[in-house]
């Protein structure tokens, strides 16, 4: 049998999803009561009164709740999930607002009714009166702190953190060349096509709760609900059903609704469900990306970095339930594949009266990569050097791994890169896009009155962060192999890739393998799906569990076949003596023998009962644990570091300033590939989100804190017509840190999007691009400003590649 590992097989989850048999949150609980929320229309206001009288007339209304109705821990502030010593002023919201609302969309009242239409009718009739307070919107206003988001947070500063590897200031001042500039990135959001949702059933007889949530972490939602509702965890099960995309926003938890819906279900003794609508998603789920970054860099005549000082202002919205993970990642992952000389980074994380900020695919890296890659381009322009050549001299060399950047990463562990081959990657991306031939292409285009430019952007991504994941593998007496892991799936193809791992490790046909994820009834211990960690963490845990089961199978089969386990192999679900096909025993029989029985209930189990099994009369019937199954955990010493380089060629319309991407090339290294087809798909999806973030997507808040584009009509996500064909190349530098040698792939595609598109536009236009995203009208105005001398032109209006 050929190994399934590494094969681009089609996905095993597809037939169900393609025929309408998927089970997403709102497909469940057809008879459940429905909840709807009254949300704040103000960015900042004091609640002066809530009048529910009118709502009570709505036929079908079951209950209306305000903060005052919430007992004990249900009414306490929601948890601060990831505390950090630098987060000196962390603040979280209440499940329903108490006294003050701090962003448009904050939930104030929950209504439960017979169906969603009636719940919304009732919600419309609730009258909340507010005394508006001055809103804080935008990073500048937050930093100026003329007004405060939280009375007790001076300067609106939630956190402040400095990391440095030496005296960067001295290194920069001593450098032959110094540059200083500012770079901005605006807000976007994960925006999965399925919003969030929660559905809870209370079993009064059993005093237990079953909750379904469209979440990226069912195990942690379970612990949070148990803690809030005062239930023992053993009485709470949480299941992530099919989830229609996550991209980060669904790793945040417990959302107010994840506490309130189960609480109401228990209180009412009825099933209750809430499915978020699109406007709710815009104004009450999370955003990300908004950052201002000030760079000061010193370098030598070849463009080699001598010192780098970056000051980041991060907008984390109204509350900090997810801590300061995003700016921590920006500040560390900004370094990419380079040696920065002496590095100092400082961030200030600021409150604003806007939706909270939690990781969105890429999680701070797109901002960091934008910062570093714009810096590289700037240096090349300053020195009149080829942009790829400047990158080349700064790359970490293959022989320098493991490479310690001297910082602390998001997992609290040192930022040490495990493996990679960046110079080779640079060579290959240049080859793929035709970097060195671009001058000729441009000259030809210019002769036809067309304006084109090329850009390059490189990144390194810490993937597979700990602390751990686990896997359980069990062979049943029919030969089926049941695999469970606690983390959740949102379209990554886990049912396929984990089955590939088990088929390869155990030696069974892949069709016999069934994978379950995100169901706490099947696996209780897990962290969750984020940080491109599922394949690395659960993949390795499942591989280790498979090896354990294999070992046990060989032992039990060895006894049955009277053979040394070392002489046995498992092929196609059958244990056999190597080189002797007649001495064999199917795994399903080994499974039966692994569980010595007193009672038989079918022919298979009859083989394992006390009068059927022979063997020694002096040995106990059971060695170790019963069942052909095993659980293992994988906990890495630190993250693995995947890497990639993107290159793009764009054309800008000389009249309309429209940007068209002519070519987009990706070189990618995520270690050994389990399923190249799935990795490729992850890259395509990531690139599309990167391009969305570079050219289209932004959250437009007005000065009052109203989100002006809270619909798909106004928040422009790319359709097929906006996304170019993506050309990909792969490298496979195995990670030395884990048994399978893999690294994560989930977020990679999105990371250099803004950086590479900005570089290509700048190259086409000869005008500095310092803010992303950029719309045609912004580019158009930039041209006018450049003509008027108020926007900066690049020094070498065309790259050195021009013949």
């Amino acid at each position: 049998m050929t190994s399934m590992f590494g094969e681009p097989i089609v996905r095993r989850e597809d037939p169900r999803l393609i025929t309408g048999q998927g089970r997403y949150l709102d497909d469940l609980g057809r008879d459940a009561l429905a909840a709807a929320f009254v949300r704040s229309p103000h960015a900042h206001a004091r609640i002066t009164g809530i009048d529910v009288d009118d709502a009570l007339d709505v036929d079908g209304l079951v209950a209306v709740y305000t903060w005052e109705d919430l007992p004990g821990r249900v009414g306490e502030r929601l948890p601060l999930l990831i505390p950090h010593p630098a987060l000196t002023h962390g603040r979280t919201a209440y499940a329903l607002a108490r006294d003050v609302v701090r962003h448009v969309g904050e939930p104030v009242v929950m209504v439960v009714a017979r169906d969603r239409y009636l719940a919304e009718d009732a919600a419309e009739r609730v009258r909340v009166t507010y005394e508006p307070l001055p809103p804080v919107v935008g990073i500048e206003n937050a930093a100026n702190a003329a007004e405060r988001v939280h009375d007790d947070v001076p300067g609106n500063v939630g956190a402040h953190l400095v990391q440095q590897t030496g005296d960067a200031d001295a290194a920069i001042s001593a450098a032959p060349h110094v540059l200083e500039f500012r770079l901005d990135i605006e807000r976007s959001a994960s925006m999965p096509l399925e919003g969030r949702g929660v559905y809870a059933r209370w079993d009064a007889d059993d005093e237990s709760l079953r909750v379904y949530s469209s979440t990226q972490t069912s195990t942690s939602v379970r612990m949070a609900i148990a803690a809030r509702l005062g239930l023992s965890a053993a009485k709470v099960e949480v299941i992530a059903p099919d989830v229609g995309g996550g991209f980060g926003v669904k790793i945040m938890h417990p959302w107010p609704e994840e506490v309130l819906i189960p609480w109401a279900a228990r209180l009412l003794g009825r099933e209750v469900k809430w499915a978020e609508d699109r406007r709710e998603h815009f104004i009450s789920s999370a955003h990300e990306r908004g950052q201002v970054q000030h760079v000061r860099v010193g370098f030598d005549d070849e463009g080699r970095l001598l010192g780098l000082d970056v000051r980041i202002q991060h907008d984390h919205g109204a509350y900090t339930p997810y801590g300061i993970i995003v700016p921590i990642i920006t500040s560390t992952q900004l370094l990419g594949p380079y040696k920065p000389g002496v590095y100092r980074v400082e961030f200030t994380s600021l409150y604003t009266n806007t939706v909270i900020v939690t990781p969105y695919r890429g999680a701070g890296r797109p901002q960091g990569t934008f910062c570093m890659e714009r810096t590289m381009d700037r240096i090349a322009d300053e020195l009149g050097l080829d942009r790829a050549a400047v990158r080349e001299v700064n790359l970490i060399r293959p022989e320098e791994f493991p490479y310690d950047q001297g910082l602390i990463f998001q997992d609290g562990r040192p930022l040490i890169y495990d493996s990679g081959d960046y110079p080779e990657m640079l060579r290959r991306i240049k080859e793929l896009i035709g970097w060195d031939d671009f001058g000729a292409f441009r000259a030809e285009a210019e002769r036809n009155g067309r304006r084109v430019g090329i850009g390059l952007a490189c990144y390194v991504e810490g993937t597979g962060v700990g602390p751990y994941e686990g896997g359980h593998v069990e062979v049943d007496s029919s030969g089926r192999v049941h695999v469970a892991t606690g983390l959740t799936s949102q379209g990554q193809g886990h049912q396929t890739v984990f089955a590939q791992i088990v088929a390869s490790e155990l030696g069974v046909p892949i069709d016999d393998v069934v994978v379950t994820t995100g169901d706490t009834r099947r696996f209780r211990y897990a962290v969750g799906t984020f940080a491109s960690r599922a394949a690395v963490m659960s993949g390795n845990a499942i591989a280790l569990a498979s090896r354990k089961v294999r070992e046990k199978a060989l032992r039990v089969a060895g006894e049955a076949l009277e053979a040394d386990p070392h002489d046995l192999e498992i092929v196609d679900g059958v244990v056999r003596v190597k080189g002797n096909v007649t001495a064999s025993i199917p795994l399903r029989t080994v499974a039966v023998l692994s569980n010595p029985l007193r009672y038989a209930f079918d022919d298979a189990t009859a083989q394992a009962t006390q009068f059927a099994v022979g063997g020694s009369m002096d040995e106990p019937p059971l060695t170790g644990e019963p069942g052909l199954e095993g659980t293992e955990y994988y906990s890495p010493p630190r993250s693995t570091f995947a890497s990639g380089m993107h290159a793009a060629i764009v054309e800008t319309d000389p009249d309309t300033a429209e940007v068209r991407i002519l070519r987009y090339a990706v070189l990618h290294d995520c270690g050994r590939l389990i399923n190249p087809r799935i990795v490729e798909g992850q890259i395509h999806g990531g690139v599309a989100q990167g391009i969305g973030g570079a050219l289209y997507e932004r959250m437009v808040y007005d000065a009052d804190g109203q989100l002006l584009n809270a619909s798909f009509m106004d928040f422009l996500m790319p359709y097929a017509t906006e996304i170019p064909h993506v050309e990909t190349g792969h490298m496979e530098t195995a990670s030395p840190l884990n048994p399978l040698g893999i690294k994560g792939a989930g977020e990679a595609g999105v990371i250099p999007g803004s950086a590479v598109i900005a570089a290509a536009i700048e190259d086409a236009e000869g005008i500095r691009i310092t803010r992303m995203p950029i719309s045609p009208s912004e580019l158009y105005h930039l041209r006018l400003e450049a003509a008027a001398g108020t926007a900066e032109r690049t020094r070498h209006a065309r790259s050195a590649a021009i013949p």
Binding site: G22, G244, R278, G491, F712, A720, T721
Partner: protein
């Protein structure tokens, strides 16, 4: 409440609903056909696309009552027991990840290929340009449309023989 009768996936179905009930909600919650998804409820994402008398429409922009007496095909009805060529092509080409947008694409593409069995690259782009997908970046969906065209041609070729 009004009694609404219509043909869904070839079967006559009836349920009572308020006049304001959206067709998408009626299909999903009254008839239990949850394969049709709702991503925006304002007519932009295309997740809720079904075939209405054979034409793709957004079921979130229609009231169920206006569908009375008409024929609706949802994703559950595309395959007649198994998978249609369009459905198979989506699996072959990895044209889906989370699968939430997929039913809408499948209905859209089914109608597209019925009207234009050999669409050019631009016609494919144009044909699916009303459906959002947040996962795939569209490349494999485009591939799947061409592949589906091949599969349909093969099958009708076989049928002709």
């Amino acid at each position: 409440m009004t009694e609404i009768g219509l043909t869904v996936n070839g079967v006559l179905r009836a349920a009572s609903a308020e006049p304001r009930r959206l067709l998408s909600d009626f299909l999903r919650h009254d008839l239990g056909l949850t394969g049709t998804h709702v991503g925006c409820e304002h007519g932009v994402c295309g997740c809720c696309t079904v075939l209405f008398d054979g034409e793709p429409v957004r079921s979130c922009l229609m009231f169920a009552v206006t569908a009375a007496g008409h024929e609706v095909t949802t994703v559950e009805g595309l395959g007649a027991g198994g998978m249609s060529p369009v459905q198979r092509a989506f699996q072959d080409c990895h044209g889906l990840q989370c699968g939430f947008c997929t039913p809408g694409f499948l209905c859209t593409v089914t109608a597209l290929l019925r009207d234009n069995p050999r669409p050019s690259e631009d016609e494919v782009l144009e044909g699916i340009s009303g459906n959002l997908c947040r996962c795939t970046g569209y490349q494999n969906i485009i591939k799947a449309v061409h592949r589906a065209a091949d599969l349909i041609a093969e099958e009708s070729g076989e049928a002709d023989r």
